[in-house]
């Protein structure tokens, strides 16, 4: 798995490529929490277009990011969910708690 961040206006994007599972979800969690807690970004957008597989530990990292973003008064968004990633969020009944967009443009333009 590779993970990197980039800036687009007032949004910080986290690009994740590869599977997110118990082996590497701690790294995803670390990057997301660093951006939110230490860099105090206003809008964090997680790009999941390169993620084919996500397990419950990966979902937990996203949920933690969402909860921290609420305490930091930041926006936390996801886009580019693969069918498998969407299915996992639906099965865990969590799809409704996230702001989910189809494309990067849609996430960036979200009011």
């Amino acid at each position: 798995m590779n993970i990197s961040t980039r800036q687009q206006g007032n949004s910080t994007l986290v690009d994740v490529h590869g599977d997110i599972d118990l082996y590497n979800s701690p790294e995803v969690r670390k990057i997301i929490l660093e951006e939110l807690k230490e860099k105090k970004v206003a809008r964090l957008i997680v790009n999941l277009t390169g993620v084919r597989y996500i397990d419950s530990s990966g979902v937990a990292s996203l949920v933690e990011g969402l909860k921290v973003s609420r305490t930091m008064s930041s926006r936390f968004m996801l886009y580019g969910l693969s069918p498998a990633a969407r299915e996992v969020l639906e099965l865990s009944r969590l799809i409704r708690v996230f702001e989910v967009y189809g494309t990067e443009q849609e996430a960036l333009q979200a009011k």
């Binding site: 599972d21 118990l22 082996y23 397990d55 419950s56 937990a60 933690e64 099965l91 865990s92």
Partner: protein, 141 residues
């Protein structure tokens, strides 16, 4: 468990991807469609991560055995570990209305598989999972 494909590997999360590949291909071989193959793989993967985290307390050098077999128009999976067991009644998952990290794996396993049986035995724990072909996993509200 005759005619089973047996996989033996250490409880190291690095190997999760390798094991997922084997499960997904076995499910396809047994005749599940692409979506069900993904579900079955997720359920077995979640069971395996529970073994690593809770039975072996994140020790990465402990033995795990996985047996995969075709049975009754479906697929049976038996996972064996030698770690800390729990009482079956303690495996209760959690309410999904409570939005917080963690505790999702058991819910996923039960939603996906038709049969889930956990047996803490003398010196080992066995988890038996079964999924019948044609029984779709519901992801609705």
């Amino acid at each position: 468990m005759d005619n089973a494909v047996k996989l033996n590997f250490p409880s190291d999360p690095r190997y999760l991807g390798v094991v997922r590949g084997a499960i997904e291909r076995f499910a396809a071989l047994v005749g599940f469609d692409e979506e069900d193959c993904r579900w079955i793989t997720l359920a077995v993967h979640e069971a395996l991560t529970n073994v690593i985290r809770h039975a072996y307390h994140n020790k990465h050098d402990q033995p795990v055995e996985l047996r995969l077999r075709e049975r009754d128009e479906g697929m049976e999976v038996v996972m064996v570990d030698h770690g800390t067991g729990v009482k079956p009644e303690q495996m209760c998952g959690r309410e999904l209305d409570d939005v917080r990290p963690g505790g999702l794996g058991l819910h996923m396993i039960r939603e996906i598989m038709n049969e889930t049986q956990y047996m803490p035995l003398e010196g080992r724990n066995e988890l038996h999972l079964y999924k019948k072909r044609g029984t779709k996993t519901s992801v609705g509200e």
